[in-house]
């Protein structure tokens, strides 16, 4: 059943600039991950996205949280009931 999701994560990792990807549900439970992002990041990722969403009153506007560092950026975005985090290195 999860084959489509797994395939999607593999396709995402084919991008050379992307070194990690993580999918969680609203409670931070890990639905799938690759590369530099793993199980232990699920909780933090989901909470960051939720807190960022509470900053705006517009419910249709889903913010993208960007964590910038020297080695790369982690972008977190919620879509529906799931939250996706992508670790992208600076190319």
């Amino acid at each position: 059943m999860e084959a489509t999701l797994e395939q999607h994560l593999d396709d995402t990792m084919k991008n050379p600039a992307i070194v990690g990807v993580l999918c969680t549900d609203a409670q931070g439970h890990n639905l799938g991950c690759r590369g530099s992002l793993s199980d232990e990041h699920g909780g933090v990722v989901s909470v960051l996205a939720k807190q960022a969403a509470s900053l705006t009153k517009d419910l249709t506007d889903s913010p993208t949280v960007c964590l910038e560092s020297d080695s790369g950026n982690v972008l977190v975005r919620t879509h529906g009931t799931i939250t996706v985090a992508v670790h992208k290195i600076v190319s």
Binding site: M1, E2, T4, L5, Q7, H8, L9, T12, V21, C23, L31, G32, T64, C66, E68, S69, D70, N73, L75, V76, R77, T78, H79, G80, T81, I82, T83, V84, V86, K88
Partner: protein, 148 residues
């Protein structure tokens, strides 16, 4: 095979004490004089037990209850009141100065060159769009997971 028990052996004193019932049978010899006259003993005894229990609970509550409305309040004179107010405010001032000294732990520093980090390029919008697309695809992939 061995023998676990044999009734042929005489019961020793120890055996008798072992076999003595723990709860003695109540009134084994008395018989009801007339079956119809007596009310069922079990029911009335439970009723009195319940009554006794309720009464004990009531007494316990009555003893431990503190009735604030019945307490006699004595009025305070004006100078006493002012005195007390001054005492409390000085105490508060002392305490608030000592409490303020507890500072929260400082956050760890992430970089030694904040100017460089802040002046660096913004996250490219194309990346944001890419992540948005990845999230949308992931959501549609997950919605295909169904219980059959």
């Amino acid at each position: 095979m061995g023998c676990c028990y044999s009734s042929e052996t005489e019961a020793t004193e120890q055996d008798r004490s072992e076999r003595k019932p723990l709860i003695p049978h109540p009134n084994p010899d008395s018989k009801p004089p007339n079956g119809t006259e007596r009310s069922p003993p079990g029911l009335s005894s439970t009723r009195t037990d319940e009554q006794a229990l309720l009464t004990s609970i009531l007494n316990k509550t009555a003893m431990s209850i503190i009735d604030v409305s019945a307490a006699d309040s004595q009025g305070m004179e004006q100078h006493e009141y002012m005195d007390k107010a001054r005492q409390y405010s000085t105490k508060l001032a002392v305490l608030s100065s000592t409490l303020c000294q507890k500072k929260p732990a400082p956050l760890p520093s992430l970089t030694s060159q904040p100017h460089q980090v802040l002046a660096s390029d913004l996250v490219p919008y194309s990346d944001v769009q890419q992540v948005s697309k990845i999230a949308a695809y992931a959501y549609s992939a997950i919605s295909q997971i169904k219980l059959t």
